[in-house]
């Protein structure tokens, strides 16, 4: 078991989890999906979370992403204790967390540029033109500058995922959560996407927690966490 995270460590860590447990259902239907989970993510670190289906990876991701209320244990994300945090606190925290979904979840009615700008729009003190410029910059960074006027249904799977990455990064997040971002992509595109994600996240000093089953990208991670039956193994494995 890892030691409790002290205050000094907390500042260098993007995510710090101690004895986190989570349950679904009530009474006799109550099922524990996370069982005393302990781990941390350093700033700028790319961590892969692996494990079989139903082991609790997605639940963990949604808890770290402040999308669910924390039931038991300590969960500190970007220096915010989420156990007992209000809905408003979680909503504000989410503005600093970028999310990349397995199904891209791009807004179908918006162009690639507008989708990215929806991320940039979360940054305050920027004018509309500055936010649009930012969106174009990120689209350029993911190599889609020529596709900025296209709607999602005019883009390939890989291009959509690039737009999703650009959207997540355009809000200047300090933590990026990705749920199997390469599952629908071929091996070459998958590696390209993760490589791009890693490069851009490092440039931004942004930590990345990526849920994946894809063994082809394991070598690109700083650290790999294995999860089974709601528990994390090798949580303290050394950085790459």
């Amino acid at each position: 078991m890892p030691k409790a995270v002290n205050k000094k460590d907390k500042n260098s860590k993007t995510v710090s989890i101690n004895n986190l447990s989570h349950y679904y259902g009530n009474n006799e239907n109550k099922k524990q999906v996370l069982n005393n989970v302990n781990f941390f993510i350093e700033k700028g670190e790319l961590v892969l979370l692996k494990g079989p289906s139903g082991c609790g990876k997605t639940t963990l991701l949604t808890l770290i992403g402040a999308l669910r209320t924390c039931q038991s244990g300590d969960l500190t994300v970007l220096n915010n204790q989420l156990n007992g945090a209000s809905r408003k606190t979680r909503q504000k925290l989410r503005r600093n967390i970028g999310m990349i979904f397995q199904g891209h979840n791009l807004l179908r009615c918006l162009t690639a540029e507008q989708n990215v700008q929806m991320g940039a729009d979360l940054i305050t003190n920027l004018t509309y033109l500055q936010r649009r410029e930012l969106a174009r910059k990120w689209l350029s960074a993911v190599g889609l500058e020529d596709h900025h006027k296209k709607l999602p249904n005019g883009l390939s799977g890989g291009q959509k995922q690039r737009v999703a990455i650009a959207r997540a990064l355009s809000a200047n997040p300090k933590l990026l959560l990705a749920d199997e971002p390469t599952s629908a992509l071929d091996s070459v595109t998958g590696r390209e996407i993760v490589s791009l994600l890693r490069k851009l996240a490092k440039e931004q000093n942004c930590s990345v927690l990526m849920v994946t089953h894809d063994p082809r990208i394991s070598d690109m991670a700083d650290r790999i966490l294995n999860m089974e039956d709601g528990r994390i193994f090798n949580a303290l494995s050394e950085l790459r």
């Binding site: 999308l67 807004l107 009615c109 979360l122 959207r167 749920d179």
Partner: protein, 391 residues
């Protein structure tokens, strides 16, 4: 500064883009809202037309005060009162002059096809001032000869081609209540729900056409006050001083008296208001269905925005803006269709149904309330957008 703020707070027009993503659904929504709007325009138009036409003559009367019998319910059921009550008002210094008027419905024979139809007939002394129309007194002089009448050229065509014949200098002679009359001129009054046409004649001719009417009895007494007199004050004094067989109203009260009859004593006002309400309800259902299915369709996208850090309130605003846009786009076709339909109704029924500012604003507010209310209900679905479920 204004420009700066505009640029700073300018956002991607998400509501507009969500609405226009499925043009067919948008067209259906606009058609539904427009239909509801047209329904409301027509129902309220008919209702207001009824109220307005019922007081067309009332508004034209050249009087500050009007005397009627307390038993009178409206222009379609006027009771008589002694003419001497009108003369008694002259005892008051404020009263400048008076004019007795008889009013009833008589049978007019269409000189073209000889069919009879009921026409509202007014009898007055041609030397008195009856209407506010400047040219009327000149026409009224012609009524001094017995058997002469002035025909309302806005009367329904069923009364015959009177205007055409008169303008072509053809002698227009026909029967009223079985007695021969000659049309000596045309006036512009307009039909109402109560009267399809109007006829003005002298009291002398009136009593000849309607001999059952007692000579000393009148249905309306017009009182003109001296300048500077307060009609309300004088009406109160007269109501106290005159016997109970007469009631004194200001001209405005007389107009309201007539309108109130149609509003409260008949089902017509209620029916048209109910019709407008049905339009409103139909519109609410259409908009709610459209917005609800729009929110449901886009629930994963709304959940994504929530996951990104957008507030639920921001998403409520998106749906509210969709409601506002639907109201705007639904209202415009309703307004223009309403104009066209009003014109058709005006031409075919001669009813003064007009697109006045009150109706224009009222219907827009009703459509806005309809759309925003439906958006408000559809917003409840947004609460179901669980960002945790999108992973």
């Amino acid at each position: 500064m204004i420009n700066f703020s505009f640029i700073k707070f300018r956002k991607i027009p998400l509501a507009w883009l969500l609405l226009t993503r499925q043009p067919l659904r948008l067209i259906v929504a606009i058609a539904g809202i427009s239909f509801a709007g047209i329904l409301m325009f027509m129902q309220l138009g008919f209702r207001d037309g009824l109220f307005d036409t019922s007081v067309t003559i009332h508004k034209l009367l050249d009087a500050d005060l009007v005397l009627i019998s307390p038993r009178s319910k409206s222009s379609i059921s006027m009771s008589g009162f002694p003419k001497r009550r009108l003369i008694q008002t002259l005892a008051l210094e404020d009263v400048a002059k008076t004019a007795p008027v008889n009013l009833t419905y008589l049978l007019w024979r269409n000189p073209d096809n000889l069919k009879t139809r009921s026409i509202l007939t007014l009898g007055f002394n041609p030397s008195d001032s009856l209407l506010l129309d400047d040219g009327f007194s000149r026409k009224a002089d012609k009524l001094k000869n017995p058997g002469r009448v002035l025909f309302d050229k806005l009367s329904r065509p069923e009364f015959g081609p009177i205007e055409d014949w008169f303008l072509s200098e053809k002698k227009v002679e026909t029967e009223v209540a079985g007695k021969r009359v000659l049309v000596e001129g045309l006036v512009e009054l307009g039909p109402s729900f109560g009267a399809d046409g109007n006829l003005i004649t002298s009291r002398e001719t009136y009593l000849r056409l309607f001999p059952a009417n007692p000579k000393g009895s009148i249905e309306i007494g017009l009182v003109k006050l001296r300048s500077g007199s307060n009609p309300i004050l004088v009406s109160e004094i007269l109501n106290k001083s005159l016997p109970n067989d007469v009631r004194v109203l200001t001209k405005d009260q007389f107009i309201e008296f007539e309108k109130n009859y149609w509003k409260n004593s008949t089902a017509i006002g209620f029916i048209f208001s109910l019709g407008a309400l049905m339009g409103f309800v139909v519109g609410c259902v259409v908009v709610y269905q459209i917005l609800y299915s729009d929110v449901t369709d886009h629930l994963p996208e709304y959940a994504t925005l929530l996951a990104m850090g957008y507030r639920l309130k921001s998403l409520f605003f998106v749906v509210a803006r969709e409601g506002f846009l639907l109201a705007l786009f639904g209202y415009l076709p309703a307004y223009f269709s309403g104009q066209i339909l009003y014109s058709i109704v005006r031409n075919s029924t001669k009813l003064p149904i007009v697109m006045d500012a009150n109706k224009t604003i009222l219907i827009f507010i009703l459509i806005l309330v309809m759309c925003m209310g439906s958006a408000g209900i559809a917003m409840r679905k947004l609460v179901d957008a669980d960002p945790a479920e999108i992973f």
